[in-house]
């Protein structure tokens, strides 16, 4: 960073006589000094520096995820009176009145809190995908902390939502803020946001590969060799922190070996198709609940409370729906639940998740979809076993664990929109390659079916509903920044309506300006005249009588300053002319400048090339000639 000067490190305000205060002061000085040196280095050219920042992000986010999990567990212990070593979604004998009261009261408290925060911060919180797609990786740290706190509170009060949205928001928000303060370039800032998200997922699931590919599939939008090292390093450091530093375990552990025959793969494919249906139903269910609340005109602050009442009513029968569901996933994989319970829990978890998110509880569907998928896989294997036995297709009994894993990854891949992440998650959590292969069939088919029939993951579905024009984390923000106002030329010539061609020729000689814009007496834009048209030899007969009004082009075709380059190119195409005026607005029609199609096309291709090179971590797409 050029021109940045280091302020002398401030000494701590604590009394200096104590050893603790002196130590604190020394640590503060070292940290400030390190930050100062780091910020003075030119990180725009320094890959090693970026790797160091990524590792730091991994460590901080790992600690943050452990802290959040600890707080949520503490809240569960306080509000639901569960033992310290048990997870809420394991179920068991919970007090029925707590199950009813806590989500409702929690919904009321957090609903009011969320409404107040909304008054303070009116705009929608930008998440990691949206930030990378539209804002070049820029996220608000305050919004991220707000959203994380709300997610912690909602989950702490038993809402049936996952905490992963909060984790990734916190991680990506922190990484973005750090990157912005260090002045890294746009492409590196996007990578850092991916690092934050990767670290969060890796720490949450104790699975670095899944975390890294979560970032590639969802937050960065593509895998590139340039992003591999920082993202993988962040995920690795986050996992090491939670594993070695805090002794954290995976959300579920599975030692069982799966038995899979060739016929099973056919059934996995069918399960993948059905899992896509479950995923689509859950995603649209959220929207349906939201529409219901809107139609019934329920105040926004009251919606989470009503949602909490509904979740409580479900949880009195199926307490496993409370919380993010990590404990319930372990329960379904460890124990053979009766078929009735499996069918009931699929419906209950799907409903509870849709109601929770639809009523305004902040959170995502990552871990909810994992539990929903494992329950669905368990229920499906019961049906498939009876069908296969009845038809006499195979004498080997189907392995419930394999089908649960396939169901888990298939539903989650369709909801989250990250099939490779789910395959790697299963591989890392089970350590079983056959299990990962079986999961691959289901997850890929579920993703393809969802994409072909529905077209969205849950994240992109929410963008679609909010009217945000993105289909993923691919960087399209530069298109919004390249506006007609930014691209236009301001050195235009004007003339007034009613001028004769002879007068025009006298004023604008051939070889002068190529085009002259026509305005009326009120200075409003009225089209433009090409000099070549005015100097056309065919017009020689009546130069004195003929008006330039007849030679005008583009009277009704113009651009507005806020229109982006894609809209501008569409306008050129529709108007079939090569120059468009840029006007102040449609009513006043004041001339601000003009844009030519050739220049717009050249800038568009330059920006496309630059964006692609930045994605690949290169300066340019082409080598030296």
């Amino acid at each position: 960073m050029v021109g940045r000067t280091l302020a002398p490190p401030e000494m701590p305000h604590a009394p200096r006589s104590t050893l603790g205060a002196r130590l604190w002061g020394a640590v503060g000085c070292v940290l400030r000094d390190a930050y100062g040196r780091l910020s003075q280095r030119n990180l725009r050219e320094d890959e090693i520096g970026l790797l160091a920042i990524s590792a730091f992000v991994g460590v901080v986010v790992g600690i943050g995820v452990v802290a959040i999990q600890w707080i949520v567990q503490l809240l569960h212990e306080l509000t639901f009176a569960i033992p310290a070593d048990r997870r809420l979604s394991v179920g068991g004998a919970l007090d029925w009145w707590r199950v009813l009261a806590v989500p409702a009261l929690g919904g009321l408290i957090v609903g009011i809190a969320a409404t107040l925060i909304r008054r303070w911060r009116e705009r929608e919180t930008v998440d990691a995908i949206e930030a990378n797609a539209l804002y070049g990786g820029k996220m608000s740290q305050i919004d991220s902390v707000n959203l994380t706190l709300l997610t912690v509170m909602f989950t702490g009060f038993g809402a049936s939502v996952g905490m992963e949205a909060g984790f990734t928001q916190l991680g990506a928000g922190f990484a973005s803020r750090l990157g912005q303060s260090l002045g890294v370039r746009r492409g590196d800032l996007r990578t850092l946001v991916g690092c934050g998200a990767a670290a969060a997922i890796a720490a949450a699931f104790n699975a670095p590969l899944a975390g890294a590919f979560y970032a590639f599939e969802l937050v960065l939008g593509s895998y590139t060799s340039a992003a591999l090292a920082p993202v993988a390093l962040a995920a690795l450091f986050a996992t090491l922190v939670v594993r070695e530093g805090f002794g954290a375990e995976s959300i579920f552990e599975l030692d069982a070996t799966v038995r899979i025959t060739g016929f099973d793969y056919v059934l996995f494919a069918a399960l993948g198709v059905a899992a896509a249906g479950v995923a689509i139903a859950t995603m649209t269910g959220v929207t349906w609940i939201e529409q219901l609340f809107r139609r019934l005109r329920v105040p926004v602050w009251l919606r989470p409370c009503l949602g909490g009442i509904a979740v409580g009513l479900i949880a009195v029968i199926f307490p496993q729906v409370l919380g993010s569901g990590h404990g319930a996933i372990q329960l379904t994989l460890e124990q053979v639940l009766p078929p009735g319970m499996l069918f009931g829990m699929v419906a209950a978890k799907g409903l509870a998740s849709a109601i929770s998110v639809g009523s305004g509880f902040r959170g995502g569907l990552f871990s909810s979809s994992l539990l929903l998928g494992s329950l669905f896989g368990g229920a499906a294997v019961v049906l498939l076993q009876s069908m296969v036995s009845a038809l006499g297709l195979t004498g080997v009994p189907l392995d419930p664990t394999a089908y649960m894993l396939v169901g888990t990854s298939s539903v989650a891949a369709a909801v989250v929109g990250a099939p490779v992440t789910m395959i790697l998650l299963v591989l890392e959590l089970t350590g079983s390659l056959p299990a990962a292969l079986s999961v691959m069939v289901g997850a890929i088919i579920a993703s393809v079916v969802t994409r072909l029939t529905f077209g969205y993951s849950f994240a992109t579905w929410r963008f679609h509903l909010r009217g945000v024009p993105i289909r993923g984390a691919y960087d399209v923000g530069w298109v919004r920044e390249l506006t007609a106002g930014a691209l236009m030329r301001r050195d235009f010539h004007t003339t007034v309506l009613g001028m004769t061609v002879a007068e025009f020729r006298a004023k604008y000689r051939l070889g002068g300006p190529k085009r002259v814009f026509v305005i009326d007496a009120e200075q409003r834009y009225r089209g433009f005249v090409l000099s070549a048209d005015a100097h056309n030899p065919d017009l020689e007969d009546a130069l004195g009588e003929r008006l330039i009004d007849d030679l005008r082009q583009g009277v009704d075709a113009f651009l507005l300053p806020h229109q982006n380059i894609r809209e501008a190119l569409d306008s050129f195409s529709n108007a079939k002319i090569e120059t468009l005026a840029v006007l102040s607005d449609q009513i006043e029609r004041r001339m601000l400048g003009f844009l030519t199609e050739a220049y717009a096309l050249r800038r568009y291709s330059q920006e496309l090339e630059r964006a692609r090179a930045e994605e690949l971590g290169e300066r340019t797409l082409f080598g030296p000639a």
Partner: protein
């Protein structure tokens, strides 16, 4: 001659659109009916005491019947009110047995109130789906 007179004056595309619209209006109640059946099946399975499992019909049949009645009650047709009249009492009884039969059982008053809430919720939801003013009824000319 007679055959051509009976042919609709709408284009095949318009008729296909109408079919899709009607199908969508049937699909939501059907999907919710399946969810109600699965949910009820699981809830009935959550009962642990033998006397509470002493039902008139097998659990699965009871759950499927309730789901079917809910689907019928939620259809946007005039006669869906027949389904709606059948929902409250069986739902109340089934879920009362669920709340009293689960481990640990709920106090009777709480179980009764919660069963009433379930019966009321299913009836109200089916009424909402069947009578949504923004949606035309099946078979109507709209």
């Amino acid at each position: 001659m007679r055959r051509s007179a009976a042919r609709s004056h709408y284009s095949t595309q318009v008729m296909a659109q109408g079919r899709r619209r009607r199908l969508k209006r049937v699909l939501l109640p059907l999907l919710l009916g399946i969810i109600v059946a699965a949910y009820t099946y699981g809830a009935l399975d959550a009962r642990t005491t033998a006397e509470d499992r002493n039902d008139i019909l097998p659990q699965g049949v009871e759950a499927v019947l309730l789901g079917t009645v809910f689907t019928v009650a939620s259809l946007p047709v005039g006669w869906s009110i027949l389904g709606r009249t059948l929902i409250p009492i069986p739902t109340l009884l089934l879920y009362l047995s669920v709340f009293l039969g689960k481990n640990p059982p709920l106090p009777f008053l709480a179980a009764f109130v919660l069963a009433l809430v379930y019966a009321g919720a299913l009836t109200t939801l089916s009424a909402y789906l069947g009578d949504r003013p923004d949606r035309p009824r099946l078979g109507s000319r709209q």
